[in-house]
């Protein structure tokens, strides 16, 4: 089976930032969520995959086509949407649709019409009068209705109100019905990634900290609440990402959970009170603060 994309040993240097040695593969039919703080390299990686930027080192294959040589073939199958893409303010959505469907024969009029209803967009109104959320949804419509095999979305839900966000997420979930279509999306919103992604790729400071299937990634982390006095060596355990104490209450965040850990904590004189799974949001912040070992 052809991978949706495969990059290996990817490097890209800018004056104040470098993406370093990123190797990552997305299988066809899967959704990957790209997480990382601002400046982690998410947009750089997306731009490299779309062929908008060329790498300094490493290889990029998209839908079985090597970039940059087979760029034209690869780009036919890619749908890219990012916040800094501009639409013509004086023109309507209908005008933009006519433009895009001329270029892409795969354009699906029915799909476009159903997205127009779902996103509650007015086709004849000039884009200049759209709100931010409406512009984001219009851009996404133009991208989705081509039915590209690989969707690359840079922050598709940023700046959207909760209702618009739900509409966009539902439209993305619908893409999953077709097992040949794949999605890579970056987001600050860890809830969106947690909900929709099969895989998580975690970028920090231009490096890939972790890339795993989401369920096993989340399963590795636990927040444990204990009672007792803080054992001095606990913070040095390789499994421990963070320790905090307040009086006799101790909170331990574990990055490599195993079933025997409560016993080992008990052996340190601690009484384990609760063991809870952690939300991606909490894992993300903990991992970044722990110096970026996820």
């Amino acid at each position: 089976m052809t991978a949706a994309f495969a990059v290996s040993g990817l490097c890209k240097r800018y004056p104040h930032f470098a993406l370093q040695d990123v190797s990552l593969t997305l299988a066809e039919g899967e959704v990957m969520g790209l997480v990382g703080v601002n400046g982690a390299g998410k947009t750089t990686l997306l731009r490299l995959l779309t062929g908008l930027a060329a790498p300094d080192a490493g290889s990029i294959d998209v839908l079985g086509h090597r970039l940059p040589q087979a760029q034209v073939a690869a780009k036919r199958g890619i749908g890219f949407a990012s916040e800094d893409m501009r639409l013509y303010r004086s023109q309507s959505l209908d005008w933009h649709i006519a433009l895009v469907r001329q270029i892409y024969p795969e354009w699906d009029d029915n799909y476009a019409a159903s997205l127009m209803r779902r996103f509650d967009l007015r086709a004849q109104q000039p884009i200049g009068g759209y709100s931010h959320g409406q512009r984001v949804k219009a851009l996404l419509l133009l991208c989705l209705a081509r039915r590209p095999r690989l969707l690359l979305l840079d922050e598709p839900t940023t700046g959207l109100d909760p209702v618009a966000r739900a509409e966009v997420l539902e439209a993305l979930a619908d893409v999953l019905r077709d097992e040949r279509r794949s999605v890579l999306f970056s987001s600050h919103n860890t809830h969106d990634v947690e909900q929709l992604a099969d895989h998580i790729a975690f970028l920090h400071g231009g490096r890939l900290l972790a890339h795993r299937d989401k369920e096993s990634f989340l399963d590795d982390w636990r927040r444990v609440l204990c009672l007792g006095s803080l054992p001095p060596t606990l913070a040095n355990w390789p499994e421990v990402a963070q320790v905090r104490s307040a009086g006799s209450q101790i909170e331990v965040k574990l990055r490599a959970w195993r079933d025997d850990l409560p016993e080992r904590l008990a052996a340190q004189g601690l009484t384990v009170q609760r063991v809870d799974p952690m939300a991606l949001e909490d894992i993300f912040v903990t991992a970044v603060r722990a110096g970026g070992a996820a």
């Binding site: 899967e30 539902e170 979930a173 893409v175 999953l176 019905r177 909900q195 929709l196 099969d198 299937d213």
Partner: protein, 136 residues
């Protein structure tokens, strides 16, 4: 039509909500033995959850004997739920044995333990959540 009612406001992880709701519906007889379940992709798309999350839930449900997956044909509710019922019975017995052990440590007598069970049952009834807890 909604197949499942999943919510981010629910404290349980998504895969656990899927397991609990399918278990509830099978045990309630909404879904009959042999009845086809939505495909993993279909359920993922209709409830806005990732494919891998639904897959994990289905795998757990299969191990517990609640559903059966025929290769290439999707999943159905298990024809015989004896195995699932048996596992739930075993899990209940284990929890009760644990509860008795804890009660003994706390020095509770039989009457006090009965009382505690009633308190928990009342609490569970006042918060209308579906079946919870890990599959055996």
């Amino acid at each position: 039509m909604n197949v499942l009612l999943l919510s981010a406001s629910d404290a349980r992880p998504m895969y656990q909500q899927i397991i609990d709701q399918i278990t509830t519906r099978v045990m309630a007889g909404d879904w009959l033995p042999g009845q086809a379940l939505p495909s993993i992709r279909e359920l993922a798309a209709s409830s806005g959850v990732s494919v891998i999350t639904v897959k994990r839930a289905y795998e757990d449900l299969e191990r517990a004997g609640l559903i059966a997956t025929r290769h290439g044909k999707g999943s159905v509710v298990a024809e015989r739920l004896d195995q699932a019922r048996g596992l739930f019975e075993d899990a209940l017995t284990r929890s009760l044995v644990d509860a008795i052990a804890h009660a003994t440590r706390l020095g509770l007598d039989r009457g006090q333990l009965h009382q505690r069970l009633d308190v928990e049952l009342d609490a569970a009834e006042s918060t209308p959540t579906p079946t919870q807890g890990n599959l055996p």
